[in-house]
């Protein structure tokens, strides 16, 4: 089972991913998140659905493509295919700072204790962990550093302008 942290608390994940393998025209019940391509294809149909909606982006996707839909989206899932691939950091900042998105931004993939500090600064507020990861250590890591120099999604000014 995947461990899940939201807003700095261990939480229960009620979202279901839409895989595209479902029967045509059928969708899982409840709150679902959908890959960008499928979202674009079935957008009209999905917008009227009676549930919360989310989108999962590849880290090469342009976040501006979902700009007009952000009011309807409660979740954007961003991916770290490897811990060394930092493209989703930029996606998260653009969502929060440029597009003003206030819903859940979730990090999935290689989400490691030593990275969540940077992730939260860029606007991530939810994290899927591997089953063997220690939730308490990860929770502590959010506060490992109290000093930040630059502005980001959490604070808009660099240290010399605060």
């Amino acid at each position: 089972m995947v461990k899940y942290i939201k807003d700095r608390k261990p939480s229960e994940d009620n979202w279901t991913p839409y895989t595209g393998l479902e029967e045509a025209d059928t969708l899982p019940p409840g709150d679902i998140y959908i890959p960008l391509e499928a979202w674009k294809e079935r957008r009209q149909d999905l917008l009227t659905r009676n549930s919360r909606l989310g989108v999962i982006l590849e880290n090469t996707d342009d976040v501006l493509e979902i700009a007009k839909d952000l009011d309807r989206l409660d979740l954007v899932v961003l991916q770290f295919p490897k811990m060394t691939d930092g493209r989703a950091f930029t996606q998260a900042r653009l969502l929060r700072e440029r597009l003003g998105y206030e819903g859940e931004i979730r990090a999935v993939g290689d989400v490691l204790q030593d990275q969540v500090f940077y992730m939260q600064r860029c606007g991530f507020n939810a994290f899927e962990l591997r089953d063997d990861q220690d939730v308490n250590s990860v929770l502590k890591a959010f506060d490992e550093m109290s000093v930040t120099y630059q502005g980001a999604a959490d604070i808009d000014a660099p240290i010399w302008r605060r």
């Binding site: 060394t84 930092g86 493209r87 950091f89 030593d114 550093m145 660099p158 240290i159 010399w160």
Partner: protein
């Protein structure tokens, strides 16, 4: 010199605590080597051929005497009694033990030093002109801008996992002593017609397997926009830089493959979105940082001294050193002194703990307590009175730091090579030593004048051979170390990548080959004033090829 704020201190303490925890988890086995690797590489800790190597940041090459004493202490207590200054003005220790690294970081933090972002795919320590603030050809002091970049780039949450490492250099003078053209981003302070201060922005320079000179992406960027513009460049790079092949991941490849104009368009478009953010610098932001780098209270002195002149006449050894290792200072009666780390007795860039302590004492006694490290792996005492030069020279001579070869043939840049490095395919230090032994004759070397010779022990080019007038690249060919010659490179304001001359030489042949190259230069130069590079550019490769392979 920049004085740490409470926040700066706090950050170092927290970073040491965090790293101590990471080392602890590694030693217990809670962190895999792969996971730990990514953490230690964010803190300057490499695993080399024989041991760990710790690279300590020297922000823009500036050290206090107190910091130098701490570096000496670390060399003595945790290493084998020496350290190595790198081409990026940092210092490296080759033999630390993993379990002792947190202690080393404690010692560094006590004197406002660290190893943060000296490795890994993040923004590295910003480098600069070692003569910042004292050079006569200075347009503006680059150090405040370097410090602003240091703060902006330290633990930048968005740019800590870039496609590849990222190096920034800033120069504020007419002459480029910071090699800005071969950095991922090179900045040169310039003024416009209205006498406002701005920056030339070069992007995509670098050495390694695909050497490239940086492209001028913007001719004049007001200094107030420096950080927003850097943020825009880094954001474009983080999104679009290649991650499929580590040899094509540097920003130079992105600029090259995207095309200079299209890349510029992308940066400018992103910049439109961020240029009015709070990262935009106000006058008071720049002034507050600049206050840390105010000129010291120099004494009013005349620019000549009868005793000094007398020593010049009576002591030829002193005169040689004065000729080669001094630079004029913006303040009359002062000189800038290069301490050569290229003596015949030590590998290029190496300094012993005893030398470090002695240098710290000399800095206190003669040069306002500060030392600078240089891109060419030497040290500088930047504020020495003319009247103190003779005494200083005598002390440096005893220490083996007065070799009169600054910017001369034996002022060799060399990477550590196969004696230390896990990547190297050939030895470089022994070649540097063989060259130093062969060309020990002062008059010959002096006659050759201004010339650069750099050696790299593999194609990663840490020894900057591409941008040397004479470059040597060691490679391994079917189990044999062979050395390729490149000619015509430059790391200065006329930056150029050298061209390979022809088939490689063996380790035994390479020193003679360099000797032949020098002979061709001496035979062809128009007069003693014409330096090697000028002659080479005039006559081309042919006469050199003819001599070596004809």
């Amino acid at each position: 010199m920049y004085q740490y704020s409470q926040a700066d201190h706090q950050l170092l303490l927290e970073r040491v605590t965090q790293f101590r925890d990471q080392v602890g988890r590694r030693l217990k086995g809670d962190l895999s080597e792969e996971e730990f690797k990514n953490q230690r590489l964010r803190n300057g800790l490499y695993l080399q051929l024989h041991a760990y190597m710790l690279r300590v940041a020297v922000p823009y090459g500036l050290l206090s005497s107190e910091q130098m004493r701490t570096l000496a202490h670390i060399a003595r207590r945790y290493d084998r009694g020496y350290g190595h200054f790198s081409t990026r003005q940092n210092i490296q220790y080759n033999w630390p033990k993993l379990e002792e690294v947190p202690e080393i970081l404690d010692a560094l933090a006590a004197v406002e030093m660290h190893a943060i972002q000296t490795s890994g795919n993040c923004i590295r320590n910003t480098t600069s002109d070692p003569l910042a603030g004292v050079a006569r050809d200075e347009v503006a002091d680059p150090r405040p801008y370097c410090e602003l970049i240091r703060q902006w780039s330290t633990f930048h949450p968005e740019f800590n996992f870039l496609p590849r490492k990222f190096k920034i250099a800033v120069s504020g003078a007419i002459h480029d002593r910071a090699a800005v053209a071969v950095h991922d981003i090179g900045l040169r302070l310039v003024t416009n017609e209205a006498d406002e201060l701005g920056l030339e922005v070069y992007v995509g320079g670098g050495l390694g397997r695909t050497p490239m000179i940086g492209k001028l992406i913007r001719k004049f960027l007001p200094v107030h926009d420096m950080l927003t513009y850097l943020e825009a460049i880094l954001r474009v790079y983080n999104q679009f830089g290649r991650r499929d092949n580590m040899y094509k991941a540097r920003i130079k490849i992105l600029v090259h493959e995207t095309g200079e104009d299209e890349f510029r368009k992308q940066v400018e478009a992103e910049w439109e979105n961020v240029k009015s953010s709070k990262l935009s610098l106000r006058d008071e932001d720049i002034e507050a940082i600049s206050a840390h780098f105010k000129s010291p209270d120099y004494e009013s002195l005349t620019d000549n001294d009868a005793d000094f002149d007398n020593h010049l006449i009576t002591n030829p050894e002193f005169a040689k050193w004065v000729d080669n290792n001094l630079e004029l200072h913006k303040q009359p009666g002062y000189r800038i002194v290069y301490l050569s780390l290229k003596s015949p007795d030590q590998p290029p860039g190496d300094v012993t703990a005893d030398q470090m302590d002695a240098i710290a004492d000399l800095a206190d006694k003669y040069s306002l307590g500060q030392i600078r490290s240089t891109h060419r792996q030497n040290l500088v005492l930047s504020d020495v009175k003319l009247t103190d030069l003779f005494d200083l020279w005598q002390e440096l001579t005893v220490l083996g730091l007065a070799t009169p070869n600054y910017n001369h043939l034996t002022d060799i840049i060399s990477c550590p090579g196969m004696d230390y490095c896990a990547l190297a395919t050939a030895r470089s230090i022994p070649i540097a030593q063989a060259l130093t032994d062969r060309f020990e004759n002062y008059d010959y070397v002096n006659d050759l004048g201004d010339i650069s010779l750099n050696i790299s022990g593999c194609i990663n080019a840490c020894g900057h051979h591409h941008v040397a007038n004479i470059g040597i690249l060691g490679v391994n060919k079917k189990g044999i170390e062979v050395y390729q010659l490149t000619l015509g490179g430059s790391a200065r304001e006329d930056a150029a990548i050298g061209k390979i001359l022809g088939p490689a030489f063996t380790g035994d042949e390479i020193v003679d080959a360099v000797g032949e190259v020098l002979e061709v230069y001496l035979e062809n130069r128009e007069d003693e004033e014409e330096d090697f590079l000028t002659t080479y550019r005039r006559i081309g490769q042919a006469p050199f090829k003819e001599r070596l392979y004809g």
